[in-house]
């Protein structure tokens, strides 16, 4: 894992120019053959960081999606045709993974832990008890959604607050890794604990929003 916030850049196979993304050369307008799976951050020419410039992610996504779309390669050689399909689908996977804070954090942890599995069960102390209580409260309120609209809104905002607090903590922890790389292993574990907790809160929010649609 690099901490200098710079991604390594690939060189175009056609014109030898250093490219901003390994998927496409904007200098000679050629789709690139991929031999290894590029890093998601490198695809969008972004630094390896949790606190991402979302606007830049979106702009670069649009730009690349427009160049790589398989429709433009219908008349091309079969290798290019196939490459456009593969690169487009890789581009979409990378975009989805980086756009959402939770999956972006998971992806970064995957890079930081070098594929070593992290403990997905560990939660902050007392957290599961809180979730169980919230679920019980919800269960009572969902019996009559219209009658309990206000209370439901209150639970929702409580859950959202908890989620925001966890995301804020995750953001700080990622910052700590950059400040204190020697402590990386412990910090990575703490981030994972927070992410595990976020998933339960997300689940609660989904349950609340489903009830509102009924």
């Amino acid at each position: 894992m690099k901490h200098d916030h710079l991604s390594s850049h690939s060189v175009c196979l056609g014109c030898n120019i250093t490219m901003a993304t390994p998927l496409f050369c904007f200098s000679c307008n050629s789709i690139q053959r991929l031999s290894t799976k590029p890093n998601y951050f490198e695809i969008f020419d972004l630094p390896y960081t949790y606190n991402l410039d979302i606007k830049r992610l979106e702009d670069n996504y649009q730009k690349l999606a427009a160049e790589l779309h398989p429709d433009f390669y219908l008349q091309s050689a079969s290798t290019e045709k196939r490459q456009s399909q593969e690169s487009s689908s890789l581009l979409n996977r990378a975009y989805t993974a980086l756009k959402c804070p939770m999956s972006r954090a998971s992806y970064l942890l995957e890079l930081l832990s070098h594929g070593k599995p992290l403990d997905e069960r560990k939660l902050p102390a007392g957290f599961l008890e809180d979730i169980f209580e919230l679920q019980e409260t919800l269960e009572d309120l969902l019996v009559d959604v219209e009658d309990h609209a206000e209370e439901l809104a209150a639970v929702k905002s409580d859950v959202e607050k908890r989620l925001n607090a966890l995301q804020e903590a995750v953001s700080q922890l990622f910052g700590n890794i950059e400040k204190d790389p020697s402590n990386q292993k412990n910090i990575v574990e703490s981030i994972q604990v927070n992410l595990n907790a976020e998933r339960y809160l997300q689940r609660l929010l989904e349950r609340i929003s489903r009830s509102n649609q009924v």
């Binding site: 997905e120 939660l123 599961l128 169980f132 269960e139 998933r199 339960y200 689940r203 609660l204």
Partner: protein, 130 residues
């Protein structure tokens, strides 16, 4: 994906839903969660003379998680603590014909049994120590 008849049966008429007072001396409580899907499962046992005389559960989750915990309460009732510890998630998978994507629900139920028994034992040691 269709649920098996047994899952549907447990889902529609879950056995032993409810709770005991967790402070009671002869009650053990297991609270476990599935990180994959955010399901939460509480399983409680009531023990007399080393035998589980009653069990209750409450699960917030999918049909398979509810069926797995419902079945788990049925199975532990009447068993000694040691016998209950031999219940394996694979037994639950087989009984409910759970598909591979739902195996973690049965793991959750096994974890819940173990953690309820552990809680019961821990609290007894605490009480005898006093």
């Amino acid at each position: 994906m269709a649920y098996s008849d047994k899952v549907v049966d447990h889902y529609n008429s879950p056995r032993n839903v409810g709770s005991f007072k967790k402070e009671e001396d002869n009650v053990g409580t297991g609270l476990v969660g599935a990180p994959e899907c955010g399901d939460v499962m509480k399983l409680q046992i009531k023990v007399e003379d080393n035998r589980i005389v009653d069990a209750k559960f409450k699960t917030f989750g999918c049909g398979s998680a509810i069926a797995s915990s419902s079945l788990a309460t049925e199975w532990v009732k009447g068993k000694s603590i040691d016998e209950a510890l031999t219940i394996k998630n694979t037994d639950i998978v087989e009984e409910l014909s759970l598909p591979p994507v739902k195996i973690h629900c049965s793991v959750l139920a096994e974890d819940a049994i173990r953690s309820a028994i552990k809680d019961y034992k821990d609290r007894r040691t605490e009480n005898t120590a006093e």
